[in-house]
């Protein structure tokens, strides 16, 4: 337990220096830019003045932010594994299980802390143009937390596969970006189905789709989205599977005994 506490404190100490920048970027700049760009300007061009459609289009963008934060956390673990071997050192002085649990837990909590205020801040910027008449805020909180869980677990799997930092950008473009586009980041599942039924059927196997479906369902309260309960079960199940896979891969990669 003492090891867990020390390792958690170390992680906190690591980010403390950049806390001011993170708060400004994630609590102010990003919500403003995403809100104005994807929640107002782009939908205004696509559909004219239609707050409900604009909100439907925009709320999926939270997935992009979730994945960016999760990817950053995973890349930091990768840098510590492949650079100064900090991860290996931590494993030697505690145990692989402890280090893995602490890193995963901290990444999920970090992701939740940065992303939780995202939609409320956007609401402040956009006012009535952000359609929240039927919004269930507790469900938004749950969806953001589950989205963080899934994003971190997936980012950990990817970072366990690669051997150095130079591959991290390829990972983003080839293994993350398509999943987000077909994960309802921009367009909801029903529209993908309507446009290309085959793509819709494939998109149903994308676990990220359930994060955006849950968020849309929480914000808009429509029945056209997959039910939040189904989404939660799928997200939790997939996250557990990803965590187990990344545990196995990372253990093998650093040859932990």
């Amino acid at each position: 337990m003492q090891h867990v506490q020390i390792l958690l404190l170390r992680e906190w100490h690591r980010i403390r220096g950049s806390l001011k920048d993170l708060v400004v970027n994630f609590y102010l700049i990003w919500p403003f830019l995403f809100g104005i760009g994807s929640g107002y300007l782009a939908p205004l061009t696509y559909f004219g003045v239609n707050p409900k459609k604009a909100t439907m289009l925009f709320v999926g963008m939270i997935l992009l932010q979730l994945v960016i934060v999760a990817h950053d956390c995973a890349m930091h673990i990768l840098a510590e594994r492949t650079g100064a071997n900090v991860l290996q050192y931590h494993v030697t002085v505690s145990s692989f299980m402890t280090v893995f649990v602490v890193r995963s837990l901290f990444s999920v909590l970090f992701c939740i802390a940065l992303m939780m205020p995202f939609l409320p801040i956007v609401k402040i910027f956009l006012g009535s143009y952000f359609y929240t008449v039927h919004t269930s805020w507790p469900l938004v909180v749950a969806a953001t937390a589950l989205g963080s869980l899934l994003s971190v677990s997936y980012a950990l799997v990817l970072s366990s596969f690669i051997s150095d930092m130079t591959q991290s950008l390829n990972i983003w473009v080839r293994f993350i970006e398509p999943l987000m586009w077909f994960g309802g980041m921009w367009v909801p599942l029903f529209a993908i189905y309507k446009a290309l039924p085959l793509a819709g059927r494939i998109a149903r196997y994308n676990p990220f789709m359930y994060v955006t479906e849950m968020i849309r369902s929480a914000v808009l309260g429509d029945a056209i989205y997959t039910s939040p309960l189904t989404c939660s079960v799928i997200i939790v199940g997939t996250s557990i599977m990803f965590f187990m896979l990344s545990y196995y891969l990372l253990k093998k990669k650093i040859d932990a005994v």
């Binding site: 970027n25 205004l44 696509y46 559909f47 080839r174």
Partner: protein, 259 residues
């Protein structure tokens, strides 16, 4: 410094280009395919008028410029603090600034070679073989100008910012606002009709003249900011960035010109 020495800088950039191009092209095609599927199928299924597909695609293509030049900038900023290669190049006898000209050339070459074919592929995918009121030559000229602009922009930022600041803050604080207010996902006149005040504010973003210039070159001029205005603003922006880049070089590596 002789021509032979200067040409080495440029040959190095060509070598880097050859080494990285295929990987960047594959990445560019992956990203563009997603944009194209959205514009051609998904957004119209949600009610977007298909007439917006081409102008929005011409704006979307700028995201490739942002991403590819940003990635190249990571190497430059890391190099200045790490292997000190730029310091070495600038310390060579004669005009060390030729190294910077070569970097601009490298960035531009990379972006033109990436954007031009992907732009053509996207236009074919959206509309098939059809004629446009503008000219393809004009479009190519705008692609070149846009690439030079992005080369100067990201090179200046990568020289000015240390790696940590570049990775943490350049996207949210500089590129993000330029991107959002740059007409990538909308056309300026459409926004000017609906929110005139905001639209005036967007005129401050030079990226807006990139997206509107690309649209103006290929489609009709009347619906977009006029092409001569876009070209003038971009040329002026490039000149300002050139000045800022030299200042950034002095600030970051204590470079003394002409020594």
């Amino acid at each position: 410094m002789s021509f032979k020495h200067i040409s080495v800088f440029f040959l190095r950039e060509i070598h880097v280009f050859k080494k990285r191009f295929l990987k960047t092209m594959i990445d560019g095609l992956v990203v563009t395919s997603m944009h194209l599927l959205s514009l051609k199928y998904f957004l119209p299924a949600m009610g977007m008028n298909p007439e917006w597909q081409t102008p929005l695609y011409l704006g979307n293509i700028l995201s490739l410029c942002f991403v590819s030049s940003y990635i190249r900038g990571i190497d430059i900023t890391r190099d200045i603090d790490g292997s000190n290669f730029l310091q070495y190049q600038c310390a060579l006898p004669g005009k060390g600034l030729y190294a910077l000209y070569a970097y601009v050339f490298g960035f531009t070459l990379h972006m033109v070679a990436l954007v031009a074919p992907i732009l053509g592929f996207g236009l074919l995918f959206l509309n098939g073989v059809c004629s446009y009121p503008g000219s393809l030559l004009g479009l190519f000229f705008m692609v070149l100008l846009v690439s030079i602009f992005f080369a100067f922009l990201l090179l200046t930022l990568s020289i000015f910012c240390r790696p940590d600041a570049y990775l943490d803050n350049v996207w949210p604080r500089i590129l993000g606002p330029l991107f959002v207010f740059g007409g990538v996902f909308y056309t300026w006149k459409r926004i000017a009709l609906l929110t005139p005040f905001l639209a005036k504010f967007f005129l401050l973003s030079p990226v807006l003249y990139c997206s509107e210039g690309l649209r103006g070159a290929l489609l009709t001029d009347a619906d977009y900011i006029s092409l001569p205005v876009c070209i003038t603003v971009l040329v002026l922006s490039i000149m300002i960035l050139w000045y800022l880049m030299k200042r950034a070089l002095k600030h970051r590596i204590d470079y003394v010109e002409g020594v």
